[in-house]
Symmetry: C2
Subunit: 372 residues, 2 copies
Amino acid sequence: MNIGLLGFGVVGRGVYDITAARDDMQVTKVICLEDITLPDAEVTRDFNKILTDDSIDTVVEAMGGLHPAYEFVRAAIEAGKNIVTSNKALVATFYDDLLPLAAEKGVAFRCTAAVGGGIGWLSELERVRRVQEISMVGGIMNGTCNYILDSMTRLGLDYGEALKQAQALGYAEANPSTDVDGIDTWHKLILSSNVAFGVSMEHESVPVCGISRISAEDIANFKANGLTCKLVSRGTQAEGKYTAYVQPTLFPQGALEAAVPTNFNLITLDGEYSGRQSLYGQGAGRYPTAYNVVEDCVSVLAGKSFYSPYGGKVSADNSVKLRYYVRGGDAWIDSVTAEKWGTASVTEPVAVNEIHAWLKNNPEAFIAAIAE
Amino acid sequence: MNIGLLGFGVVGRGVYDITAARDDMQVTKVICLEDITLPDAEVTRDFNKILTDDSIDTVVEAMGGLHPAYEFVRAAIEAGKNIVTSNKALVATFYDDLLPLAAEKGVAFRCTAAVGGGIGWLSELERVRRVQEISMVGGIMNGTCNYILDSMTRLGLDYGEALKQAQALGYAEANPSTDVDGIDTWHKLILSSNVAFGVSMEHESVPVCGISRISAEDIANFKANGLTCKLVSRGTQAEGKYTAYVQPTLFPQGALEAAVPTNFNLITLDGEYSGRQSLYGQGAGRYPTAYNVVEDCVSVLAGKSFYSPYGGKVSADNSVKLRYYVRGGDAWIDSVTAEKWGTASVTEPVAVNEIHAWLKNNPEAFIAAIAE
């Protein structure tokens, strides 16, 4: 396999390093905007040099961002090249465009590293789907949020302090919005639901709220009630009906989710025969992520394409009711409150879509679902 | 795929049910010692009817036990049939005989359900090995022991009460020795090490001790020190040196292992690029186990054989030193004791092989390693 590598940052460099030791593949051209030289690969700023190189059968996209990653990947598919990417935003955003095109052109499209970094999550969904229906996917999919919540819980830090520490350690970006507002988890949930259920989930039907409003007061409330807060995604299917949402969620202190430390991920499926299965590991980082990119290249060599057939558009129906912890409520929250934890409310079961709609109009509030 | 199914108990019946709904495989003959009839398969007591049936390409062994399972599986391989089995004792015991023979005869040999039941553990090792070296495998591999230890910890039960409850719920056999003495975990560790490291681990070099000597007093000691006891296997490789052992192990209450409830399994690998990864799920039960048997049949159809090349014999060098909790010590234990928890000792680091040798001569004692 001859690889054209787009991007030579954290992931791209890792892919280059891992493939360098292999006989079955080599990176022959690299797109990099910096002036570097590599012993075994041509470095260029010109994507056309990869696109028009017939010896390159596979494009590994490790640039991140939507543009020009989308244009490059689309052109590569059109040119009959296989795609391997770790870019969850790209795949989730352009799912309806790129996946049917890849199928039409008969090229492989793999993105295992896009969800769970070094965890074999999407590839396990692919395996599981061969024998059983999946009724649920979801879990802790963002290491930055888990690191912040874990620090706040274990060390008693404020949100701002925990974020600063995560940034100092390289676990959070200078602009952390994509992680802490849940967008990264949202992309991963949409992609996981698409693969697990064989659908294309309507993005607008999937509500998301993140952790940036959480306070030390909230954490103290959770601890006092034997609960631990995690940012969690959840997607379900049953009889043609779907749910999908991302929100802070409270687990009993003895639950597996509550034991996930620092920047680790824990992602779960529920299968009709296997029951609940969870995968735990490093959801980010150079070598874990690059490792799964290279796994995907091996899978392409073994004849694998995408993880599931492309399915049509579906919308999440989030009418399922959960109990919520709410700080910063109003008269409506008061009307559904079952008990008070300090100044915060714990509600009777309310519909997921209803409380997320309320939150849009009350952006200063913080909510967390109480896991069943 | 035409399947000859050996055994129609818990797992065999599950395999029959799951395959009945599939187009790509069917069970055409079943060995069953009871007089039953099946709509789509011939039931017989005569293995030769399967062996000499050229239309049967794959034998699924779900009888359990070593004999006649071994003779049947060996004859089926000789006859050029693929093997799928969930029988860990069979595969671990006859590894050096069956695996080279299967390779020589060019037939597939799969046993994913043998370790972790419904968890895709061996198949994930197979995937992981394509790109990285594995330095460690192990974890909670026996649901019976986990159920007993979890009941003792959460409900304060005695060992005898917890065992009785597990038996009443079908989580433990009438004769529980294979589970509670760690033999089941020992077979699973040997098989996991063989696959992960590409070796054949010398059985005699792998010490095992189980949980049957544990008491409510021990559990109280662990709780008082913030620890939770699990029966755990561990195999490592580094620079051609191996360790492998099975023993009760104490984890901090916040650790992932400590959060594994009831009869679940949590199995972990450490990879050079991915770091630690764990798989969690139902390690036993009709449908989880049968599910992975059927997954193996699909993998055989997809051209997969065994998980790793057959490797030569190696011995575990268990000179690694760990701290141990010991109840029922003697003068030697006193000489290595660092502190006392009630009447029990907590030792300085002692070599794994040394304390297991001591335990052989002190069978009334209970030991548990303290996880690092």
